[in-house]
Symmetry: C2
Subunit: 358 residues, 2 copies
């Protein structure tokens, strides 16, 4: 169906090689020949076949971006930032999402290696070095985005999310909160653990007992975690949540239990959706410089691919910002025992696995 380079060559009475030259290095072809070839290209509506080109050149000019959860506005922001930076560098980007699942991550990485992408930007699920080694062993370049990799044999761009988590707690402590509970994601995901650790650090420094609930990075899980936490400890005055979905869920649970945010309960979080997307930015939270992270990662990757960067792995840590909005307020002074009453009828609701850490 589709015309090939040889079809064009035949029609223009030249060799295939000359057609290739017209496309890739027009200067090197005589004007008359070039015109003939271009005419044939137009007439046959010839579109080059990158499969052949890539196979021969051993270069696809493609980089892959693997994010954990494409439904998260945070990931969307990463995707747009990476594609823009990549396009400027002359690369095409293909995406995948792992749904925070290591097996899916492995499958996706393999699919990308099969396509022989020149490089991969990965937001890894765990700090297991195996996926990274797999990519490197296959001869593709890789940059890790969003998480520090412990065995640092790979370029990485991330924020100090543990310290940022401490910062969130300190914000609450300054507002007079003492009963601060952490709601985070699954224990198998580094981000969830890191953010819980930062919370633990700050609580320990303040001489307070930490209370951490592990769940999922979803609204439903946030709702459930908040419900359980409030039932177990009705005197809680503030939640630190490990992402915006958990925060939304927690806010929902609070509202349903008759608690007002922030008057009765403060909620602070990570990875706020871009302010743009919301009618009123609401959650106080840590904002990561997504654009800069994505651009930096892309540039580092392109440097590796093009051989401009050799040698040791580079680890770039970018600063976060605490963005104070309406979801955090001074701790209420009175105890709220009526909460237990409201929670009563909801007891059969606890069907998620929830693990508490002392």
């Amino acid at each position: 169906m589709a015309a090939t380079m040889r079809d064009v060559a035949r029609r223009a009475s030249v060799a295939a090689m000359t057609v290739s030259r017209v496309i890739n290095d027009p200067e090197s072809v005589a004007p008359a020949t070039k015109a003939r070839v271009e005419k044939a290209i137009a007439e046959l509506r010839y579109v080059p076949n990158m499969l052949g080109q890539d196979l021969r050149r051993k270069r696809t000019m493609t980089i892959a971006l693997l994010v954990s959860d494409i439904t998260n506005p945070f990931s969307i922001h990463q995707i747009t930032a990476v594609s823009d930076a990549a396009r400027r560098a002359g690369y095409t980007v293909i995406f995948g999402h792992t749904q925070s699942d290591s097996d899916e991550e492995a499958r996706q990485l393999r699919a990308m290696i099969e396509r022989r992408v020149d490089g991969i930007i990965l937001s890894p699920v765990t700090d297991d070095p195996a996926p990274v080694e797999f990519v490197q062993g296959a001869g593709s370049e890789i940059v890790v985005l969003g998480y520090p990799m412990p065995a640092s044999t790979v370029d990485a761009v991330h924020c100090d999310t543990r310290a940022a988590s401490s910062e969130l707690v300190e914000h609450l402590l300054l507002l007079g909160h003492r009963e601060v509970v952490m709601l985070t994601g699954p224990e198998r995901i580094v981000t969830a653990v890191e953010r819980a650790d930062g919370y633990g650090d700050a609580m320990a420094s303040a001489g307070l007992a930490p209370e951490i609930h592990y769940g999922d990075f979803t609204i439903a899980s946030g709702e459930e975690l908040a419900r359980v936490a409030l039932r177990q400890r009705p005197s809680t005055t503030a939640f630190v949540t490990a992402n915006n979905f958990i925060a939304i869920g927690a806010a929902r649970a609070a509202t349903q239990l008759g608690l007002r945010v922030p008057q009765d309960l403060s909620i602070v979080t990570f990875d706020n959706a871009r302010a743009d997307h919301m009618l009123d930015p609401f959650f106080t939270g840590i904002v990561q410089p997504v654009d800069r992270m994505a651009q930096t990662a892309t540039h580092m990757l392109v440097e590796r691919i093009e051989g401009d960067a050799r040698g040791r792995a580079r680890d770039v840590v970018l600063p976060t910002v605490l963005d104070v909005h309406g979801s955090s307020a001074p701790a209420p002074t009175t105890r709220r025992d009526e909460v237990t009453l409201l929670i009563g009828p909801e007891q059969g609701h606890n069907h998620n696995e929830v693990e508490g850490t002392p």
Copy 2:
């Protein structure tokens, strides 16, 4: 660097063809041979090169999805739905976004044809048949998602967005509104025009004069359009907006002008963000069955690719739902002339191009 099939063949003392068989049709290889080959594959960490395979098979098992604006939650929803459906059918999906720009659309389509995707799902910018013909001429299958194509030589899945727009207006009329103004996107984009037309239909049926403001599908534009509309006609009691970004902008403008939504001003819209993502679903609006649309489009495309569907183009129209939330309320009974006062100091603000239609 990376091992090839022949490397594996040599190591297992078989022909390359046998390695290929082990990978694609393991049943046809004797167990002992198969084991030897698999051992060699593991030892060399061989990963097949799809470029070679695709080139030979003339099949990439890839479909491309081209949406207009990846930052829109509506598009994200399309992306996830299409990738899920495609994965189930054994296809990989690659994405692109056109930013509602015809040139960018053409570039992206060409890039996808260059990669020889088996098919393309396109949310077109305009109703120009050229992009569709380009793809068909290049031998790829295509399904148009979200917009009806006038010259129906192509499969399409969409909603009757014009009728839906009328439905929005009727909802407002039932609430007693008479001064209803349309805020829509650029005139060059079909969706913007279709939705304005539906508004026009309903206003005409009710014997009311339409007033349409064209702008962009962005929050900033929505804000600007609303500001201008309210200045020109302070007695406006309701806006119909052509997407959620315009709605958010309009709500912002209203708030800044001291108008409460919905008490003083109702706002209804299209393409609400998924309820999930918002703390409180707020906008009354038309909801399109995104999942079903995306699945249908994917299935139709796969059928074409696999030759199960031949002949005439199919045009599937799916029903929309009017989702009533808090942004629409009965029309206020008193006139509001103080609005002009509030608008006064903002006059120098009109730097977007805004076109009014009588």
